[in-house]
Protein backbone atom coordinates (compact mmCIF):
# COMPACT_ATOMS: atom_id res chain seq x y z
CA UNK A 1 0.00 0.00 0.00
CA UNK A 2 2.82 2.35 1.00
CA UNK A 3 4.58 1.66 -2.29
CA UNK A 4 1.40 2.31 -4.26
CA UNK A 5 0.93 5.66 -2.53
CA UNK A 6 4.53 6.65 -3.30
CA UNK A 7 4.09 5.58 -6.93
CA UNK A 8 0.86 7.50 -7.35
CA UNK A 9 2.34 10.59 -5.68
CA UNK A 10 5.38 10.43 -7.97
CA UNK A 11 3.16 10.05 -11.04
CA UNK A 12 1.00 12.91 -9.85
CA UNK A 13 4.08 15.12 -9.46
CA UNK A 14 5.57 14.12 -12.80
CA UNK A 15 2.37 14.46 -14.80
CA UNK A 16 2.30 18.27 -14.98
CA UNK A 17 5.97 18.30 -16.00
CA UNK A 18 5.23 15.92 -18.85
CA UNK A 19 2.21 17.89 -19.91
CA UNK A 20 4.16 21.14 -19.86
CA UNK A 21 6.94 19.79 -22.06
CA UNK A 22 5.91 21.34 -25.36
CA UNK A 23 7.67 21.25 -28.65
CA UNK A 24 7.51 22.89 -32.05
CA UNK A 25 8.43 20.56 -34.93
CA UNK A 26 10.32 18.45 -32.42
CA UNK A 27 12.33 21.37 -31.02
CA UNK A 28 11.81 21.98 -27.30
CA UNK A 29 9.84 25.09 -26.45
CA UNK A 30 10.52 26.77 -23.14
CA UNK A 31 7.35 26.70 -21.06
CA UNK A 32 5.67 29.84 -19.80
CA UNK A 33 6.32 31.92 -22.88
CA UNK A 34 4.05 34.32 -24.71
CA UNK A 35 3.56 33.52 -28.39
CA UNK A 36 4.47 36.51 -30.57
CA UNK A 37 4.08 34.80 -33.92
CA UNK A 38 3.23 31.25 -34.91
CA UNK A 39 3.02 29.84 -38.42
CA UNK A 40 3.63 26.35 -39.74
CA UNK A 41 7.28 27.15 -40.28
CA UNK A 42 8.12 29.63 -37.54
CA UNK A 43 7.48 30.13 -33.86
CA UNK A 44 8.46 33.27 -32.06
CA UNK A 45 7.95 33.48 -28.30
CA UNK A 46 8.95 35.74 -25.50
CA UNK A 47 9.75 34.21 -22.10
CA UNK A 48 9.99 36.01 -18.75
CA UNK A 49 13.52 34.72 -18.11
CA UNK A 50 16.99 36.13 -18.48
CA UNK A 51 19.12 35.22 -21.48
CA UNK A 52 21.37 33.03 -19.32
CA UNK A 53 18.41 31.11 -17.93
CA UNK A 54 17.04 30.47 -21.41
CA UNK A 55 20.42 29.38 -22.70
CA UNK A 56 20.87 27.03 -19.74
CA UNK A 57 17.41 25.57 -20.40
CA UNK A 58 18.21 24.87 -24.05
CA UNK A 59 21.66 23.50 -23.33
CA UNK A 60 20.02 21.03 -20.98
CA UNK A 61 17.05 20.26 -23.25
CA UNK A 62 19.29 19.59 -26.25
CA UNK A 63 21.91 17.63 -24.34
CA UNK A 64 20.86 14.33 -25.86
CA UNK A 65 20.37 15.69 -29.38
CA UNK A 66 23.14 14.75 -31.80
CA UNK A 67 24.48 16.99 -34.60
CA UNK A 68 23.62 20.21 -32.82
CA UNK A 69 25.81 23.24 -33.33
CA UNK A 70 25.74 26.33 -31.18
CA UNK A 71 26.96 29.53 -32.79
CA UNK A 72 27.60 32.53 -30.63
CA UNK A 73 26.70 35.65 -32.59
CA UNK A 74 26.95 39.18 -31.30
CA UNK A 75 23.18 39.69 -30.91
CA UNK A 76 21.98 36.15 -30.42
CA UNK A 77 22.82 32.53 -29.86
CA UNK A 78 21.98 30.40 -32.87
CA UNK A 79 21.41 26.70 -32.24
CA UNK A 80 21.44 24.82 -35.51
CA UNK A 81 20.42 21.27 -36.28
CA UNK A 82 22.70 19.51 -38.77
CA UNK A 83 20.74 16.27 -38.82
CA UNK A 84 17.43 15.69 -40.60
CA UNK A 85 15.04 16.81 -37.90
CA UNK A 86 12.04 18.91 -38.94
CA UNK A 87 13.35 22.07 -37.26
CA UNK A 88 16.33 24.01 -38.51
CA UNK A 89 17.33 26.44 -35.79
CA UNK A 90 16.56 28.00 -32.44
CA UNK A 91 17.67 31.60 -32.06
CA UNK A 92 17.87 33.12 -28.58
CA UNK A 93 18.22 36.87 -28.57
CA UNK A 94 20.84 38.42 -26.31
CA UNK A 95 19.05 41.23 -24.57
CA UNK A 96 19.35 42.63 -21.11
CA UNK A 97 16.44 42.22 -18.72
CA UNK A 98 13.97 39.53 -17.84
CA UNK A 99 12.40 39.08 -21.26
CA UNK A 100 14.11 36.90 -23.83
CA UNK A 101 12.91 36.22 -27.32
CA UNK A 102 13.19 32.73 -28.82
CA UNK A 103 12.66 31.98 -32.51
CA UNK A 104 12.32 28.43 -33.82
CA UNK A 105 12.45 27.92 -37.57
CA UNK A 106 11.40 24.92 -39.62
CA UNK A 107 14.00 23.13 -41.71
CA UNK A 108 13.87 24.74 -45.12
CA UNK A 109 15.23 24.23 -48.58
CA UNK A 110 15.95 27.92 -49.06
CA UNK A 111 18.67 27.68 -46.46
CA UNK A 112 20.13 24.46 -47.85
CA UNK A 113 20.12 25.57 -51.48
CA UNK A 114 21.26 29.08 -50.57
CA UNK A 115 24.21 27.87 -48.57
CA UNK A 116 25.14 25.37 -51.29
CA UNK A 117 25.13 27.98 -54.03
CA UNK A 118 27.20 30.28 -51.84
CA UNK A 119 29.71 27.53 -51.22
CA UNK A 120 29.89 26.51 -54.86
CA UNK A 121 30.56 30.13 -55.71
CA UNK A 122 33.06 30.08 -52.83
CA UNK A 123 35.08 27.36 -54.57
CA UNK A 124 35.20 29.57 -57.67
CA UNK A 125 36.26 32.54 -55.58
CA UNK A 126 39.08 30.56 -53.95
CA UNK A 127 40.40 29.36 -57.30
CA UNK A 128 39.84 32.76 -58.89
CA UNK A 129 41.98 34.41 -56.20
CA UNK A 130 44.56 31.69 -56.74
CA UNK A 131 44.37 32.43 -60.46
CA UNK A 132 45.00 36.12 -59.87
CA UNK A 133 47.85 35.29 -57.47
CA UNK A 134 49.42 32.99 -60.04
CA UNK A 135 49.02 35.53 -62.82
CA UNK A 136 50.71 38.22 -60.75
CA UNK A 137 53.54 36.02 -59.49
CA UNK A 138 54.01 34.57 -63.00
CA UNK A 139 54.22 38.06 -64.45
CA UNK A 140 56.72 39.25 -61.84
CA UNK A 141 58.91 36.16 -62.14
CA UNK A 142 58.90 36.06 -65.95
CA UNK A 143 59.86 39.75 -66.00
CA UNK A 144 62.70 39.25 -63.54
CA UNK A 145 63.91 36.21 -65.48
CA UNK A 146 63.78 38.20 -68.73
CA UNK A 147 65.76 41.05 -67.11
CA UNK A 148 68.42 38.64 -65.86
CA UNK A 149 68.71 37.11 -69.31
CA UNK A 150 69.00 40.56 -70.87
CA UNK A 151 71.77 41.43 -68.41
CA UNK A 152 73.59 38.19 -69.19
CA UNK A 153 73.26 38.86 -72.91
CA UNK A 154 74.56 42.42 -72.40
CA UNK A 155 77.58 41.14 -70.44
CA UNK A 156 78.38 38.63 -73.21
CA UNK A 157 78.22 41.25 -75.92
Amino acid sequence: MKKLVILLTTLFLLLPATLMAEDFLGAPVMPGGKILQKTGSRLEISVPKTYDQVLAYYRNALKKFKDIRIRDWSESIHIEDDSNRPWHSITISKQAGNETQITIIKDNWTWIVGTLILRFVGVFVVLMILFVGMKCSGYIISRSVARLEDKKAAVKT
Binding site: N84, L116, L130
Partner: protein
Protein backbone atom coordinates in the same frame (compact mmCIF):
# COMPACT_ATOMS: atom_id res chain seq x y z
CA UNK B 1 37.04 -37.20 -16.51
CA UNK B 2 33.41 -38.06 -17.25
CA UNK B 3 31.84 -38.08 -20.69
CA UNK B 4 29.76 -35.01 -19.75
CA UNK B 5 32.89 -33.11 -18.75
CA UNK B 6 34.51 -33.95 -22.09
CA UNK B 7 31.36 -32.76 -23.86
CA UNK B 8 31.40 -29.53 -21.84
CA UNK B 9 35.01 -28.98 -22.77
CA UNK B 10 34.31 -29.58 -26.44
CA UNK B 11 31.32 -27.29 -26.19
CA UNK B 12 33.56 -24.61 -24.65
CA UNK B 13 36.10 -25.01 -27.46
CA UNK B 14 33.29 -24.82 -30.04
CA UNK B 15 32.19 -21.53 -28.48
CA UNK B 16 35.57 -19.97 -29.27
CA UNK B 17 35.45 -20.91 -32.97
CA UNK B 18 34.11 -18.88 -35.82
CA UNK B 19 32.07 -21.86 -37.02
CA UNK B 20 29.86 -21.81 -33.95
CA UNK B 21 29.33 -18.07 -34.15
CA UNK B 22 28.80 -18.04 -37.89
CA UNK B 23 26.35 -15.49 -39.26
CA UNK B 24 25.16 -16.09 -42.85
CA UNK B 25 25.23 -12.32 -43.51
CA UNK B 26 29.02 -12.45 -43.78
CA UNK B 27 28.74 -14.51 -46.97
CA UNK B 28 27.43 -11.41 -48.74
CA UNK B 29 30.42 -9.46 -47.47
CA UNK B 30 32.79 -12.17 -48.69
CA UNK B 31 31.17 -11.87 -52.11
CA UNK B 32 31.64 -8.07 -52.06
CA UNK B 33 35.25 -8.48 -50.94
CA UNK B 34 35.89 -11.06 -53.67
CA UNK B 35 34.39 -8.72 -56.28
CA UNK B 36 36.82 -5.94 -55.32
CA UNK B 37 39.80 -8.31 -55.16
CA UNK B 38 38.77 -9.59 -58.61
CA UNK B 39 38.51 -6.04 -60.00
CA UNK B 40 41.92 -5.20 -58.57
CA UNK B 41 43.75 -8.32 -59.77
CA UNK B 42 42.02 -9.17 -63.03
CA UNK B 43 40.74 -5.80 -64.25
CA UNK B 44 43.59 -3.79 -62.68
CA UNK B 45 41.07 -1.23 -61.34
CA UNK B 46 42.97 0.90 -58.77
CA UNK B 47 44.73 -2.28 -57.52
CA UNK B 48 46.88 -0.40 -55.00
CA UNK B 49 43.75 0.47 -53.04
CA UNK B 50 41.03 -1.94 -54.07
CA UNK B 51 43.16 -4.98 -53.21
CA UNK B 52 43.85 -4.01 -49.57
CA UNK B 53 40.29 -2.67 -49.22
CA UNK B 54 38.89 -5.95 -50.56
CA UNK B 55 41.09 -7.97 -48.24
CA UNK B 56 40.15 -5.75 -45.31
CA UNK B 57 36.44 -6.41 -46.00
CA UNK B 58 37.14 -10.12 -46.34
CA UNK B 59 39.19 -10.65 -43.19
CA UNK B 60 37.05 -8.56 -40.89
CA UNK B 61 33.88 -10.47 -41.79
CA UNK B 62 34.70 -13.63 -39.89
CA UNK B 63 33.13 -14.14 -36.49
CA UNK B 64 35.26 -13.44 -33.43
CA UNK B 65 38.34 -12.20 -35.32
CA UNK B 66 40.19 -9.84 -32.98
CA UNK B 67 40.78 -7.07 -35.50
CA UNK B 68 38.30 -4.23 -35.10
CA UNK B 69 37.61 -3.96 -31.43
CA UNK B 70 39.16 -3.06 -28.11
CA UNK B 71 40.61 -5.41 -25.49
CA UNK B 72 41.23 -3.93 -22.04
CA UNK B 73 41.02 -0.47 -23.60
CA UNK B 74 43.67 -1.26 -26.21
CA UNK B 75 42.72 -1.27 -29.88
CA UNK B 76 43.09 -4.47 -31.86
CA UNK B 77 45.30 -4.50 -34.96
CA UNK B 78 43.08 -2.98 -37.65
CA UNK B 79 41.26 -0.82 -35.11
CA UNK B 80 44.67 0.65 -34.24
CA UNK B 81 45.38 1.39 -37.92
CA UNK B 82 41.93 2.93 -38.24
CA UNK B 83 42.07 4.86 -35.00
CA UNK B 84 45.53 6.37 -35.34
CA UNK B 85 45.58 6.57 -39.12
CA UNK B 86 42.11 7.72 -40.03
CA UNK B 87 40.34 8.97 -36.91
CA UNK B 88 43.40 11.05 -36.13
CA UNK B 89 43.29 12.23 -39.77
CA UNK B 90 46.91 11.32 -40.42
CA UNK B 91 46.82 8.94 -43.39
CA UNK B 92 44.96 11.18 -45.90
CA UNK B 93 47.36 14.03 -45.11
CA UNK B 94 50.45 11.83 -45.51
CA UNK B 95 49.07 10.57 -48.83
CA UNK B 96 48.68 14.18 -49.91
CA UNK B 97 52.32 14.77 -48.96
CA UNK B 98 53.30 11.94 -51.30
CA UNK B 99 50.98 13.17 -54.04
CA UNK B 100 52.48 16.64 -53.76
CA UNK B 101 55.94 15.16 -54.11
CA UNK B 102 54.82 13.44 -57.32
CA UNK B 103 52.99 16.39 -58.86
CA UNK B 104 54.30 18.74 -61.51
CA UNK B 105 52.21 21.90 -61.43
CA UNK B 106 53.88 23.17 -64.60
CA UNK B 107 50.81 22.79 -66.88
CA UNK B 108 48.62 24.59 -64.36
CA UNK B 109 51.12 27.42 -63.85
CA UNK B 110 51.52 27.81 -67.61
CA UNK B 111 47.76 28.05 -68.11
CA UNK B 112 46.25 29.23 -64.82
CA UNK B 113 42.80 29.91 -66.28
CA UNK B 114 42.22 26.15 -66.19
CA UNK B 115 41.86 26.59 -62.45
CA UNK B 116 38.29 27.69 -63.13
CA UNK B 117 37.54 24.39 -64.84
CA UNK B 118 38.62 22.68 -61.63
CA UNK B 119 36.08 24.82 -59.77
CA UNK B 120 33.31 24.14 -62.31
CA UNK B 121 33.88 20.42 -62.00
CA UNK B 122 32.79 20.58 -58.36
CA UNK B 123 29.19 21.08 -59.54
CA UNK B 124 28.36 17.42 -58.91
CA UNK B 125 29.56 17.66 -55.33
CA UNK B 126 26.91 20.24 -54.54
CA UNK B 127 24.14 18.68 -56.62
CA UNK B 128 24.71 15.27 -55.04
CA UNK B 129 24.61 16.92 -51.63
CA UNK B 130 21.06 18.06 -52.39
CA UNK B 131 20.03 14.64 -53.73
CA UNK B 132 21.42 12.90 -50.68
CA UNK B 133 19.47 15.14 -48.32
CA UNK B 134 16.29 14.37 -50.25
CA UNK B 135 16.96 10.69 -49.62
CA UNK B 136 16.91 11.29 -45.87
CA UNK B 137 20.62 11.50 -45.07
CA UNK B 138 21.76 14.07 -42.51
CA UNK B 139 23.55 17.20 -43.72
CA UNK B 140 26.92 15.86 -42.59
CA UNK B 141 26.35 12.52 -44.33
CA UNK B 142 25.21 14.34 -47.47
CA UNK B 143 28.40 16.42 -47.51
CA UNK B 144 30.57 13.34 -47.20
CA UNK B 145 28.69 11.55 -49.99
CA UNK B 146 28.76 14.63 -52.22
CA UNK B 147 32.54 14.89 -52.15
CA UNK B 148 32.86 11.47 -53.87
CA UNK B 149 32.31 13.22 -57.22
CA UNK B 150 35.40 15.32 -56.63
CA UNK B 151 37.21 12.05 -57.41
CA UNK B 152 39.78 12.62 -54.77
CA UNK B 153 40.23 9.57 -52.56
CA UNK B 154 42.18 11.12 -49.66
CA UNK B 155 39.87 14.15 -49.56
CA UNK B 156 36.82 11.85 -49.46
CA UNK B 157 38.38 9.82 -46.64
CA UNK B 158 39.41 12.97 -44.77
CA UNK B 159 35.99 14.62 -44.99
CA UNK B 160 34.03 11.44 -44.26
CA UNK B 161 36.15 10.65 -41.21
CA UNK B 162 35.40 14.13 -39.92
CA UNK B 163 31.70 14.37 -40.72
CA UNK B 164 30.22 10.89 -41.10
CA UNK B 165 32.67 8.15 -40.04
CA UNK B 166 29.88 5.57 -40.22
CA UNK B 167 29.89 5.98 -44.02
CA UNK B 168 33.67 5.78 -44.44
CA UNK B 169 33.75 2.33 -45.98
CA UNK B 170 30.99 2.95 -48.50
CA UNK B 171 32.25 6.41 -49.46
CA UNK B 172 35.89 5.39 -49.89
CA UNK B 173 34.91 2.32 -51.85
CA UNK B 174 32.61 4.32 -54.12
CA UNK B 175 35.26 7.03 -54.64
CA UNK B 176 38.06 4.62 -55.52
CA UNK B 177 35.83 2.35 -57.62
CA UNK B 178 34.51 5.20 -59.73
CA UNK B 179 37.99 6.72 -60.03
CA UNK B 180 39.05 3.42 -61.55
CA UNK B 181 36.08 3.57 -63.87
CA UNK B 182 36.74 7.10 -65.15
CA UNK B 183 37.68 5.74 -68.63
CA UNK B 184 34.22 4.13 -68.82
CA UNK B 185 32.13 6.90 -67.25
CA UNK B 186 33.51 10.02 -68.86
CA UNK B 187 33.82 9.42 -72.65
CA UNK B 188 30.07 9.10 -73.41
CA UNK B 189 29.38 12.34 -71.50
CA UNK B 190 32.26 14.08 -73.28
CA UNK B 191 30.96 13.07 -76.70
CA UNK B 192 27.43 14.04 -75.81
CA UNK B 193 28.33 17.55 -74.69
CA UNK B 194 30.83 18.51 -77.40
CA UNK B 195 30.53 18.98 -81.14
CA UNK B 196 33.06 17.36 -83.53
CA UNK B 197 34.43 20.84 -84.28
CA UNK B 198 34.97 21.57 -80.58
CA UNK B 199 36.75 18.26 -80.08
CA UNK B 200 39.22 19.24 -82.80
CA UNK B 201 40.19 22.58 -81.24
CA UNK B 202 43.95 22.82 -81.04
CA UNK B 203 45.46 24.52 -78.07
CA UNK B 204 48.68 26.49 -78.18
CA UNK B 205 51.70 24.72 -76.76
CA UNK B 206 52.20 25.58 -73.08
CA UNK B 207 54.98 27.99 -72.23
CA UNK B 208 57.97 26.66 -70.30
CA UNK B 209 57.70 27.30 -66.57
CA UNK B 210 60.75 28.43 -64.64
CA UNK B 211 61.96 26.68 -61.49
CA UNK B 212 61.34 29.83 -59.46
CA UNK B 213 57.67 29.80 -60.46
CA UNK B 214 57.37 26.16 -59.55
CA UNK B 215 58.84 26.82 -56.11
CA UNK B 216 56.70 29.88 -55.56
CA UNK B 217 53.45 28.19 -56.62
CA UNK B 218 53.05 25.84 -53.61
CA UNK B 219 53.91 28.67 -51.22
CA UNK B 220 51.41 31.09 -52.77
CA UNK B 221 48.73 28.41 -53.00
CA UNK B 222 49.26 27.27 -49.41
CA UNK B 223 49.02 30.88 -48.23
CA UNK B 224 45.83 31.57 -50.20
CA UNK B 225 44.16 28.34 -49.10
CA UNK B 226 45.19 28.96 -45.48
CA UNK B 227 43.66 32.42 -45.62
CA UNK B 228 40.45 31.47 -47.40
CA UNK B 229 39.69 27.88 -46.38
CA UNK B 230 41.80 27.23 -43.28
CA UNK B 231 39.90 24.05 -42.40
CA UNK B 232 41.50 22.19 -45.29
CA UNK B 233 45.08 23.24 -44.57
CA UNK B 234 46.10 19.88 -43.06
CA UNK B 235 45.49 18.35 -46.49
CA UNK B 236 46.60 21.17 -48.77
CA UNK B 237 49.49 22.17 -46.53
CA UNK B 238 50.95 18.67 -46.77
CA UNK B 239 50.27 18.59 -50.50
CA UNK B 240 52.16 21.82 -51.02
CA UNK B 241 54.95 20.72 -48.65
CA UNK B 242 55.46 17.62 -50.80
CA UNK B 243 55.49 19.78 -53.90
CA UNK B 244 57.91 22.38 -52.58
CA UNK B 245 60.20 19.53 -51.48
CA UNK B 246 60.15 18.18 -55.01
CA UNK B 247 60.57 21.51 -56.78
CA UNK B 248 63.29 22.81 -54.47
CA UNK B 249 65.53 19.95 -55.59
CA UNK B 250 67.55 20.14 -52.38
CA UNK B 251 65.83 17.37 -50.41
CA UNK B 252 65.93 14.55 -52.93
CA UNK B 253 65.98 11.85 -50.26
CA UNK B 254 62.91 13.25 -48.52
CA UNK B 255 61.06 13.64 -51.81
CA UNK B 256 61.85 10.07 -52.81
CA UNK B 257 60.69 8.79 -49.44
CA UNK B 258 57.48 10.83 -49.54
CA UNK B 259 56.52 9.74 -53.05
CA UNK B 260 57.74 6.14 -52.65
CA UNK B 261 58.08 4.14 -49.45
CA UNK B 262 56.06 6.43 -47.19
CA UNK B 263 53.21 6.64 -49.69
CA UNK B 264 53.21 2.86 -50.13
CA UNK B 265 53.16 2.22 -46.40
CA UNK B 266 50.25 4.53 -45.69
CA UNK B 267 48.38 3.20 -48.73
CA UNK B 268 48.45 -0.29 -47.20
CA UNK B 269 47.17 1.03 -43.88
CA UNK B 270 44.52 3.16 -45.58
CA UNK B 271 43.21 0.34 -47.76
CA UNK B 272 43.05 -2.33 -45.13
CA UNK B 273 41.57 -0.10 -42.42
CA UNK B 274 38.91 1.33 -44.78
CA UNK B 275 37.98 -2.23 -45.77
CA UNK B 276 37.91 -3.25 -42.12
CA UNK B 277 35.17 -0.71 -41.35
CA UNK B 278 32.79 -2.69 -43.54
CA UNK B 279 31.46 -5.49 -41.43
CA UNK B 280 28.17 -7.09 -42.32
CA UNK B 281 26.04 -5.66 -39.50
CA UNK B 282 26.98 -2.11 -40.41
CA UNK B 283 27.36 -2.33 -44.16
CA UNK B 284 24.36 -4.37 -45.27
CA UNK B 285 21.74 -1.67 -45.53
CA UNK B 286 20.26 0.50 -48.26
CA UNK B 287 22.65 3.37 -47.56
CA UNK B 288 25.85 1.95 -49.14
CA UNK B 289 23.88 0.87 -52.21
CA UNK B 290 22.39 4.32 -52.48
CA UNK B 291 25.84 5.89 -52.08
CA UNK B 292 27.13 3.73 -54.93
CA UNK B 293 24.23 4.78 -57.15
CA UNK B 294 24.54 8.43 -56.32
CA UNK B 295 28.34 8.35 -56.61
CA UNK B 296 27.98 7.46 -60.27
CA UNK B 297 25.63 10.38 -60.87
CA UNK B 298 28.00 12.58 -58.88
CA UNK B 299 30.93 11.68 -61.15
CA UNK B 300 28.79 12.28 -64.20
CA UNK B 301 27.62 15.72 -63.04
CA UNK B 302 31.18 16.73 -62.10
CA UNK B 303 32.29 15.79 -65.61
CA UNK B 304 29.41 17.82 -67.05
CA UNK B 305 30.35 20.76 -64.80
CA UNK B 306 33.94 20.76 -66.05
CA UNK B 307 32.99 20.55 -69.73
CA UNK B 308 30.32 23.23 -69.45
CA UNK B 309 32.74 25.54 -67.63
CA UNK B 310 35.27 25.12 -70.46
CA UNK B 311 32.54 25.85 -73.03
CA UNK B 312 31.40 28.88 -71.05
CA UNK B 313 34.95 30.20 -70.86
CA UNK B 314 35.22 29.81 -74.63
CA UNK B 315 32.51 32.44 -75.01
CA UNK B 316 34.96 35.01 -73.69
CA UNK B 317 38.36 33.71 -74.75
CA UNK B 318 40.21 34.62 -77.93
CA UNK B 319 42.24 31.43 -77.83
CA UNK B 320 39.66 28.72 -77.39
CA UNK B 321 39.98 25.85 -74.96
CA UNK B 322 39.24 22.35 -76.19
CA UNK B 323 36.24 21.47 -73.98
CA UNK B 324 37.43 17.87 -73.79
CA UNK B 325 39.92 18.98 -71.16
CA UNK B 326 36.96 20.11 -69.03
CA UNK B 327 36.24 16.55 -67.97
CA UNK B 328 39.72 16.42 -66.43
CA UNK B 329 38.46 18.90 -63.82
CA UNK B 330 37.51 15.91 -61.67
CA UNK B 331 40.66 15.24 -59.77
CA UNK B 332 41.30 11.61 -60.73
CA UNK B 333 44.96 12.33 -61.50
CA UNK B 334 46.12 11.50 -64.12
CA UNK B 335 43.39 9.19 -65.36
CA UNK B 336 40.86 11.81 -66.37
CA UNK B 337 43.61 13.78 -68.18
CA UNK B 338 44.46 10.61 -70.10
CA UNK B 339 40.80 10.21 -71.02
CA UNK B 340 40.85 13.75 -72.45
CA UNK B 341 43.96 12.87 -74.44
CA UNK B 342 42.38 9.70 -75.83
CA UNK B 343 39.14 11.44 -76.75
CA UNK B 344 41.14 14.25 -78.38
CA UNK B 345 43.06 11.70 -80.42
CA UNK B 346 39.82 10.04 -81.49
CA UNK B 347 38.71 13.33 -83.01
CA UNK B 348 42.08 14.28 -84.46
CA UNK B 349 44.99 11.86 -84.44
CA UNK B 350 47.57 14.62 -84.15
CA UNK B 351 45.89 16.68 -81.43
CA UNK B 352 47.55 15.88 -78.10
CA UNK B 353 45.67 17.25 -75.10
CA UNK B 354 47.40 15.48 -72.22
CA UNK B 355 49.51 18.39 -70.96
CA UNK B 356 46.62 20.82 -71.40
CA UNK B 357 44.32 18.47 -69.47
CA UNK B 358 46.79 18.21 -66.60
CA UNK B 359 46.01 21.84 -65.72
CA UNK B 360 42.31 21.29 -64.90
CA UNK B 361 43.19 17.91 -63.45
CA UNK B 362 45.44 19.52 -60.84
CA UNK B 363 42.96 22.36 -60.39
CA UNK B 364 40.41 19.66 -59.60
CA UNK B 365 42.56 18.50 -56.68
CA UNK B 366 42.64 22.03 -55.29
CA UNK B 367 38.94 22.54 -56.14
CA UNK B 368 37.77 19.38 -54.38
CA UNK B 369 39.89 20.26 -51.36
CA UNK B 370 38.32 23.73 -51.36
CA UNK B 371 34.83 22.18 -51.58
CA UNK B 372 35.72 19.85 -48.71
CA UNK B 373 36.96 22.86 -46.76
CA UNK B 374 33.62 24.58 -47.33
CA UNK B 375 31.79 21.57 -45.93
CA UNK B 376 34.11 21.28 -42.95
CA UNK B 377 33.65 24.96 -42.17
CA UNK B 378 29.90 24.46 -42.46
CA UNK B 379 29.41 21.36 -40.33
CA UNK B 380 32.45 20.60 -38.21
Amino acid sequence: MTFDEILDMLYGIMHTTGVYNFDPKVIVMWAIASAFIYLAIVKKFEPLLLLPIGFGIFIVNFPLVPLMGYVHGRPQLLEAFYHYGLEWEIIPCVIFLGLGAMTDFGPLIANPKTLLIGAGAQLGVFITFTGTILAGFTLKEAASVGIIGGADGPTTVYLTTMLAPQLLGANALAAYSYMAMVPLIQPPIMRLLTTPAERKIRMRQLRPVSRKEKILFPLVTAAIIALLVPSVVPLMGMFMLGNVMKESGVVGRLTETAQGPLMNIVTIFLGVSVGATMYADKFLSWKPLFIFGLGLIDFGVCTVGGILTAKFMNLFLKEKINPLIGSAGVSAVPMSARVSELEGLRADKTNHLLMHAMGPNLAGVIGSAAAAGMFIAMFH
